[in-house]
Assembly symmetry: C2
Homo-oligomer: 325 residues x 2
């Protein structure tokens, strides 16, 4: 294997979502040479799912010919456990209980396989191909529908004793604060710094300041989402701007705590909310700095991911392959 130069080696990245599974064949620089997708949710039987995955991927693999070496398969999946390769009790997937997905894939494809959760995969992807290249200590936060995270310390992913480390979206930032729609916890980061959180904050501000004019008042509450709030914010709408400022401030408080834990070189932000750019980065940075001990001040960069959002899931999953021993 090692006699084939890295430039001729390829990795398969598979990202399992609740609705669809996307995959790609990726080279060592993060170029996706082939990509495809199958349905996840139509397969209640995981063996049939893996059969379809195999039939979708193999023709593509074969077209690369024998001058390329496929090193292995990396998989990103909700509730994926790196240590045992299981998906464990993922609420949005069709398979219940513990599914030894990495083993099943490895047997079917006869290729070394590794699996982790999607946020950890994103962090490995960023370290391999993106903004964290060369960094040994960083924290990746994904600000999407929810808030995910992947933590790298001493150049290695932090998986914890059980493989489940890095649920920073569920850390409590405002005790007794906003109740989480799913966990029931009060004041977790995800209740504020997610797309859902932005929507809830906008509605709260509209109700709290009924006399403040806002474009958002032309919409029904159920039409308000983080995208609309962003559109209004860049038009200068005060309520919309205040929504992002508030969101960034809560994020900044959380980031300060995370920095005092692992002292990363950088925090890398990824996901839909990052499109708001300085509307969210600037207050996050300000409040993070305010809350840091002096020894940490002005040392930690907050930077956006360098991976294209549409490619990131495949790239992150594929990056696990280069880490295989």
């Amino acid at each position: 294997m090692l006699s084939i130069p890295i430039s001729q080696q390829m990795a398969i990245g598979i990202d399992i979502g609740g609705t669809n599974t996307v995959f790609g064949i990726v080279d060592h620089r993060g170029e996706i040479a082939y990509r495809g997708a199958i349905s996840t949710k139509k397969h209640e039987n995981v063996d049939e799912y893996i059969d379809e995955l195999y039939q979708a991927i193999m023709p593509a693999l074969n077209q690369f010919g024998s001058d390329k070496l496929v090193r292995g398969i990396g998989i990103g999946a909700p509730n994926g456990n790196y240590y045992n390769g299981n998906i464990e009790y993922a609420p949005n997937l069709p398979w219940k209980g513990k599914i030894p997905l990495a083993s099943l894939v490895q047997q079917k494809f006869n290729l070394p396989s590794a699996l982790t959760n999607d946020a950890n995969a994103a962090a490995v992807g960023e370290m391999t191909y993106g903004a964290a290249k060369g960094m040994k200590d960083f924290i990746m936060i994904t600000l999407g529908t929810g808030v995910g995270s992947g933590i790298v310390v001493n150049g290695e992913m932090v998986y914890g004793h059980d493989g489940f480390a890095g649920e920073l979206g569920h850390t409590i930032i405002i005790p007794g604060g906003r109740k989480h729609w799913s966990t029931g916890a009060e004041g977790s980061l995800e209740t504020y710094a997610s797309a859902t959180g932005v929507m809830l904050t906008a509605i709260e501000l509209l109700n709290k300041y009924p006399d403040k004019p806002s474009i958002l008042r032309h919409y029904e509450e159920n039409e308000i989402d983080s995208r609309l709030v962003y559109d209004c914010a860049i038009q200068g709408d005060d309520i919309a701007r205040d929504t992002y400022t508030f969101t960034g401030e809560i994020l900044g408080k959380a980031l300060a705590n995370f920095v005092m834990f692992s002292s990363p070189e950088a925090i890398i932000l990824f996901g839909g909310l990052c499109k708001a750019g300085s509307l969210i980065f600037q207050p996050a940075k300000r409040v993070m700095e305010e809350n840091l001990l002096p020894i940490y001040k002005n040392k930690v960069q907050i930077i956006p991911s360098e991976l294209k959002e549409s490619d990131a899931a495949i790239l992150g999953a594929s990056a696990l392959v280069w880490e295989l021993k």
Copy 2:
């Protein structure tokens, strides 16, 4: 060096405190074969300090004879930086600015030397000789005058990109809460879960419930300390018990956040407040569990240090030596 069996090898551990420096010569099982101390604060000149340290340690070393190998010197110091061996801007030490202490010691003794802050040293000591033996992922929290911490992930200390990781005492647990007497931050863990925090909580509760009888009311406010509160608590005094319950609950909230970061196998508690035993462990455990995501529940032990408090600083510092490459 490697031809001498580990049972014949010794490590020097030096713990630098603001008033005194204690040191010991320690074997691989954590037995302290020799111990001594010199004054720290009388030496404004660091070279003279190191001269005195040398004169105090060398006669002891020589008495061990040539059948023992001294592997090196480990140093625990406030604001100690593992990467460069510097003590940086330690407010309670006589030397200002950045002091390359590990280098100075290494040159003087002609022995490999490593330095870290006291809380990290405590964690390495616990991993080498104590309750964390064999653990690859744990968090050590020292509950003393202040709150210190040392974090181990994948079997390695977390030092962060700059050597300053692990200031969990300064993470904000109650935003807008009690103001820290030194940093000015509001609601950091240290303002509650330290000896000073216990004292402040007791006084707050006495003032908040003026009609509640308490033995503590027989004392002036400036006579109340965590030890007195403990003594009253074990006599069944309600205010004193409530003080420890409240302290444990704040600690539990903080621990939940830490667990969702690095998913440790155990949290190891050390320091004066641990003497309160179940008065503080029990509420900490209860509130930690309440605040954890289901995947973490009932997995993480909270256990007391197994090192004798009087030996722990020397043992922790000496343990750095066995980690030297």
